[in-house]
Symmetry: C2
Subunit: 357 residues, 2 copies
């Protein structure tokens, strides 16, 4: 496939053209006043009994390529919690699988790559994303959008985080092979990161054209890098992904974990929202990010298990800090932990809604 | 045992009284001019073939309670690399095992606790450290000191990192049970952390009295905490450990990983040196830590696999940044990775020594 999407505009029936533009998520992302939106990373997932039921016997990647399951799982937390956004049920490795990389998601481990990518030849074999190979995901997006009362957030993995999985062969604590490749063979690194950026760009564009009203780029492992390495090896590729979506006019969220040192750099690409984990307070994050960006975050997901009194105080603190920002999307600082009581999540949504300014 | 060590002074034959005080490590820690010292966290360990040979068939904890093995393994990297400090071969859970907690160190996993500590009753059962139960470690220290040409650094785990292992039952990515306990049951948390602080205090004091010339407190997981949580739940207990050692007059090193947001707080207890991982540059770390502390770090251990050219440039950068500090101890930002080529470590030592100002 070689269709050129670069100048495609949003179709007339896109939610952003049919009234969704004033949804709280989109107002906050644009810095327009309005009720504070709340959603949770990994809201669609193992914390929900209805999710565990529907996934029974269905491997993760099979579920991600089943349009009906994608839509149902995406909508489960919207129905249950009343969150202000849906986020597509998928995984950052879905487009990598779609381009033919032999990988799987092993329960309790994460993505495991059969043949790690480490040489020029390995990298050359990474093809561009053929949209036909993610047709089921596209249909899933359309199914969600057809019935979701709230905006859908599309997402993709950032080039560094994807590259780390491919180079290390799976989840890694130290990312040492990835860092060694960056430094020792920078041309190879940049070739790999460019290819991954192109895959993420196309995957995100597809989601937006199919009806997603915002996108989030997950650079979950970026916090493992020094600022110097991040700027030199990673930021240009993530920036290219964001820049490629500018014509679509959807809010773009840039998220990572443990990125306190990187927040300023992560706000440099054309993004409307920067995600903040729980290690940095929102006022401090705002200073690093600059005055014209909305922030998303930043409740420590571990505190969802600390009891209502502690949790309520923390929610109130974050809401108060968010009031001083140009825009604030309430979220966790990282994903919902599997053992989280879903009723607690529902209560947090209620509290945030009650505390609306 | 109930001997009161609080006012014990260093014995006359202690290395600090017999000439070791002018060793580069001790000069740098005290901010006195001199050649720059270099050592590596986890220098005694799996990167060395002589270590793998001597550990063959010997479980980790058995090795830690064998005075001859402790001494031999501690000295291996001193002989091979010519580093400027030995660090005791041990593990932060050694004193926990010594007080009777049923735990083991599983290869490839880390410490695993048979019955996680989560209730008041669990916590009450944690006894004080009887020095007789670590007599083998004490003898190991004495054996090292009898023949080491460089100062020995004793160490212990900080209360938070120890508590996380006990509460979670093993290594944890999110420390969610630990955080939940802190917030939901602060009295229990403080009781647990106090007991662990007392154990670490006594374990460190024993090492110093047996001949260690410096100590390092490892709070490896502190970077998982927000600054507010760190200040409220952790810092007072770590500070108590450091304060308890003041009368001994040995340099104290405070180390954690991913602690960029915490560096200022980590410099508040009476410590002479703050460890810096590779995510923050030394000049920036110095601003956070304040003007009167030496810094230790901060080479990214992943770069040990990136080739000599990259590595040499990085070593030169760190040495140049270190020149501007009141004192600088060259080290990694985290421990040596097991797959590291030991010859590379030896070269780094040579480079740092050549680059001495």
């Amino acid at each position: 496939m070689a269709e050129d999407l670069t100048n495609a505009a949003l179709p007339a029936e896109h939610p952003l053209r049919t009234g969704m533009r004033d949804a709280p998520l989109l107002r906050a992302a644009a810095g327009r006043p309005g009720p504070r939106p709340v959603w949770f990373m990994r809201q669609a997932g193992r914390s929900l009994p209805e999710y565990r039921r529907i996934r029974e016997g269905v491997p993760m990647l099979r579920a991600c390529f089943d349009a009906d399951l994608v839509a149902e799982i995406t909508l489960q937390p919207v129905r249950r919690h009343g969150v202000d956004a849906a986020i597509l049920f998928s995984d950052i490795v879905v487009p990598l699988r779609a381009v033919g990389i032999d990988l799987d998601i092993e329960p309790g481990v994460g993505p495991v790559v059969a043949e790690p990518v480490r040489t020029a030849r390995d990298i050359e074999r990474i093809a561009a994303l053929d949209l036909a190979s993610v047709a089921a995901v596209e249909q899933g997006v359309r199914n969600v959008v057809a019935s979701s009362p709230v905006p859908l957030i599309g997402f993709a993995g950032a080039p560094f985080t994807l590259a780390s999985y491919l180079i290390e062969g799976g989840p890694s604590r130290n990312h040492d092979r990835t860092k060694a490749l960056m430094h020792a063979e920078p041309e190879l690194w940049h070739e790999l990161a460019s290819r991954l950026a192109a895959i993420s760009e196309r995957f995100l564009r597809m989601q937006v054209l199919a009806g997603a009203s915002a996108i989030q780029l997950f650079d979950s492992w970026a916090g493992a890098l020094s600022l110097a390495d991040y700027r030199r090896f990673v930021l240009p590729h993530s920036a290219a992904v964001f820049a490629s979506l500018t014509d679509l006019g959807v809010p773009r969220i840039h998220f990572g974990v443990g990125t306190g040192e990187l927040l300023g750099a992560m706000a440099e690409p054309p993004v409307e929202v920067v995600g903040v984990d729980y290690r940095v307070g929102l006022p401090d994050a705002a200073l690093r990010v600059g005055p014209d960006r909305a922030l998303q975050g930043n409740l420590d997901p571990a505190l969802l298990g600390a009891g209502d009194q502690v949790l309520r105080a923390e929610v109130e603190r974050i809401v108060a800090e968010g009031d001083a920002l140009p825009g604030h999307i309430f979220n966790l600082g990282h994903g919902v932990l599997p053992q989280t009581d879903p009723d607690v999540l529902t209560r947090v949504v209620q509290w945030v809604h009650e505390l609306r300014p």
